[in-house]
C-alpha cells in the first residue's frame, strides 16, 4: 500500500513498517538536492511535524511525518549521496522508516490516483 500527503511525501507500508520519502513531483520542484538530514532511530515523530530536512541548491524544505510513530531507520545513504532523491525518489531516495503508532492514521491520505489528480490541479 502506498499513500501520499498533500505536502508531497509518500509512505509505503510493509510488515507494519512505513517507509517515507518525497514524490517525483516534489524532487522536480526542488531541483538538485545537495543535502539531506534524516532522523535517527528511536526518535518519536508526530503527524504533520518536521521529520527530515531536504536542501536543494535553491532552498531548504522540511519533510513531515505522515503519521505518529517512532523512527526505526534513517536512510544514511542520502548523507553520502543526496542526489538519490532526484534520481530515485520513490526507491533508493527514501528518507526514513518508522513504526506507526496507529496505522489507521494513513487512511486519510491519498492513493496514487488521487495524488496524481491533486498534482495535476496544482
Amino acid at each position: 500500500m502506498i499513500r501520499f500527503t498533500k505536502d508531497h511525501e509518500w509512505v509505503r507500508v510493509q510488515d507494519g513498517i512505513a517507509t517515507v520519502g518525497i514524490t517525483d513531483y516534489a524532487q522536480q520542484a526542488l531541483g538538485d538536492v545537495v543535502f539531506v538530514e534524516v532522523p535517527e532511530a528511536g526518535r518519536a515523530l508526530e503527524r504533520g511535524k518536521d521529520a527530515a530536512v531536504v536542501e536543494s541548491v535553491k532552498a531548504a524544505s522540511e519533510v513531515y511525518a505522515p503519521a505518529d510513530g517512532t523512527v526505526t531507520e534513517g536512510n544514511t545513504g542520502l548523507t553520502d549521496n543526496p542526489a538519490l532523491v532526484n534520481s530515485d525518489p520513490m526507491g533508493e531516495g527514501w528518507f526514513f522508516r518508522m513504526k506507526l503508532a496507529d496505522p489507521a492514521q494513513l487512511d486519510g491520505l491519498m492513493d496514487e490516483a488521487a495524488y496524481s489528480a491533486y498534482v495535476e490541479a496544482l
Binding site: 538538485d32 545537495v34 538530514e37 530536512v53 541548491v57 535553491k58 532552498a59 531548504a60
Partner: protein, 384 residues
C-alpha cells in the same frame, strides 16, 4: 532613495504582485528552451533550464554559459564632463577612467551606505555607459537625474537586450564572430557587429570567470542569443546558477550582501573607493567612509566556510566560540564547484580574520564553520 531587494531564486517574491511582470526580449526563447520562470526584480526570468542549477553552474566553469541579463538597467550619460559629474555620486575614480575602460563602483548615501553597485564604461570624453541592478534602476535613474545637472540621462528601456557569455570557452566562441574580442583586456569595452547586429561588448561579468557582456537592441537580442547558443560550447544558464557562481566568486548581491546599511569599508569593497577619492572625498557619505578607512569599521563582510555538508542560508545567525552573536549570513548555499556549502556574511571586526572559528545557527543547532578567504573559487579574468 530606497531600492527594492532583489529576490533570490527560492526566496519569496517581494515585488508588488499586482504589477504585471516585465518580459525581457528573450522571454519567448526561454519558453522554447524549457526554462522554469520565476518573478525576479519585476521581471519574469529563467531560474533554470532543464539541465538544472548544478549542471548549469559547472558548465559555466568548464565551457561557456549564456545568461539573459536584459533585466539589468542600461543607462547612457552625456554631457560636457559626465565623469566629473558622476564623481559627486560615487567614490570611484571615474575621471581617471580611460576611454574604452570599465570600472565597478557604488552609489553611496549621506551615511556612507550603498544605494546600488554598478559598472561604468568611459565611452568617450562626453559619454559614459552605466549598467545598474534591475531592482534599483528606477531609483538610480531618479538619483542620477537629480544629482547630475547638465548631464543627459538616457535609459535604454525595460526591453533593451543584454546577454552575458561567461566561462573559459567564452573568448574562443566570441572570437569566431568578433576576432578582436579575444584580445580585449578584462574590464574593457568595444563596439562591434555580429552578423550585422550592432553590439556593445564588455569583457566583464559576474561569475568570476572570463567572459563578456553583450548589449544589443531588444529587437536583435533573440537573434544574437540563438547565434551564440548554436555554438557547441554554449548552454543557456539561469539565475539560480548565476547566484551560486557569483557567491563562489565572492561577489556581492545587492539587497543581500550590500545595501543602504552597509558601507564600502564594511563590505570589504575598499578597492572600489579610489585612492584619490579617499583623500579628496566629495562623494555622499565621504566623511564617514574616510573615518572608517582611518579607524576601521566595527564589522566586516567575510567568507564563511561551514565544516559539514549543511548549507547555511541568508539570515543565519553567526556566533562566536563563546556563544555570543557576532553577525549573520547575507548569502549562503551550496557551491557546486566547491562541492560543499559556502557563505558570506558580516561579523564583528574582532572575528574577521581568516581561520577564525565560528558557529552557524542552522535549525537551532550550532554548526561549526570558519571565516574563509574570498573568493572560494579563484577568479579567472583575462588579464592579457
Amino acid at each position: 532613495m530606497a531600492c527594492a531587494v532583489e529576490t533570490l531564486p527560492g526566496d519569496p517574491d517581494l515585488s508588488d504582485q499586482t504589477e504585471p511582470l516585465l518580459r525581457t526580449p528573450l522571454h519567448a526563447l526561454h519558453g522554447e528552451l524549457g526554462a522554469r520562470m520565476v518573478p525576479f526584480a519585476g521581471y519574469d526570468m529563467p531560474v533554470q533550464y532543464p539541465a538544472g542549477v548544478l549542471k548549469e553552474h559547472l558548465h559555466t566553469r568548464t565551457g561557456a554559459g549564456l545568461f539573459d541579463v536584459s533585466h539589468m538597467g542600461q543607462v547612457r550619460l552625456r554631457g560636457d564632463d559626465p565623469a566629473k559629474a558622476l564623481e559627486a555620486l560615487v567614490p570611484g575614480d571615474i575621471q581617471g577612467l580611460a576611454e574604452g575602460r570599465i570600472r565597478y563602483t557604488l552609489f553611496t548615501n549621506d551615511h556612507g551606505g550603498i544605494l546600488d553597485d554598478l559598472m561604468v564604461t568611459r565611452v568617450g570624453p562626453g559619454e559614459l555607459f552605466l549598467v545598474v541592478n534591475a531592482a534599483c534602476k528606477q531609483a538610480d535613474l531618479a538619483h542620477l537625474r537629480a544629482g547630475l545637472p547638465g548631464v543627459a540621462v538616457e535609459y535604454l528601456g525595460d526591453d533593451a537586450g543584454l546577454l552575458a557569455l561567461q566561462g573559459p570557452a567564452a573568448a574562443a566562441v566570441l572570437a569566431r564572430h568578433v576576432p578582436a574580442a579575444a584580445a580585449m583586456p578584462f574590464m574593457s569595452a568595444i563596439t562591434a557587429d555580429i552578423r550585422g547586429i550592432p553590439v556593445r561588448i564588455s569583457r566583464s561579468g559576474y561569475t568570476g570567470e572570463d567572459g563578456y557582456e553583450i548589449g544589443a537592441a531588444g529587437t536583435d537580442a533573440e537573434a544574437l542569443a540563438r547565434l551564440l547558443l548554436a555554438e557547441p560550447e554554449v548552454a543557456p544558464i539561469g539565475l539560480g546558477a548565476r547566484d551560486s557562481l557569483r557567491l563562489e566568486a565572492g561577489l556581492c548581491l545587492y539587497g543581500h550582501d550590500i545595501d543602504t546599511t552597509t558601507t564600502p569599508v564594511e563590505a570589504a569593497l575598499t578597492w572600489a573607493v579610489a585612492k584619490r577619492r579617499r583623500e579628496e572625498g566629495g562623494f555622499p557619505g565621504a566623511a564617514l567612509v574616510q573615518r572608517q578607512f582611518r579607524e576601521g569599521a566595527v564589522r566586516k563582510r567575510v567568507g564563511i566556510l561551514p565544516e559539514g555538508r549543511a548549507p547555511a542560508r541568508e539570515h543565519t545567525e553567526i556566533q562566536g566560540a563563546d556563544g555570543a552573536v557576532i553577525g549573520s549570513i547575507t548569502s549562503g548555499g551550496f557551491g557546486p564547484s566547491v562541492n560543499g556549502p559556502v557563505a558570506m556574511g558580516y561579523v564583528a571586526a574582532a572575528h574577521a580574520a581568516v581561520g577564525t572559528p565560528v558557529n552557524l545557527m542552522v535549525r537551532g543547532k550550532a554548526l561549526p564553520a570558519k571565516v574563509a578567504a574570498l573568493p572560494f573559487v579563484p577568479h579567472r579574468y583575462y588579464r592579457g
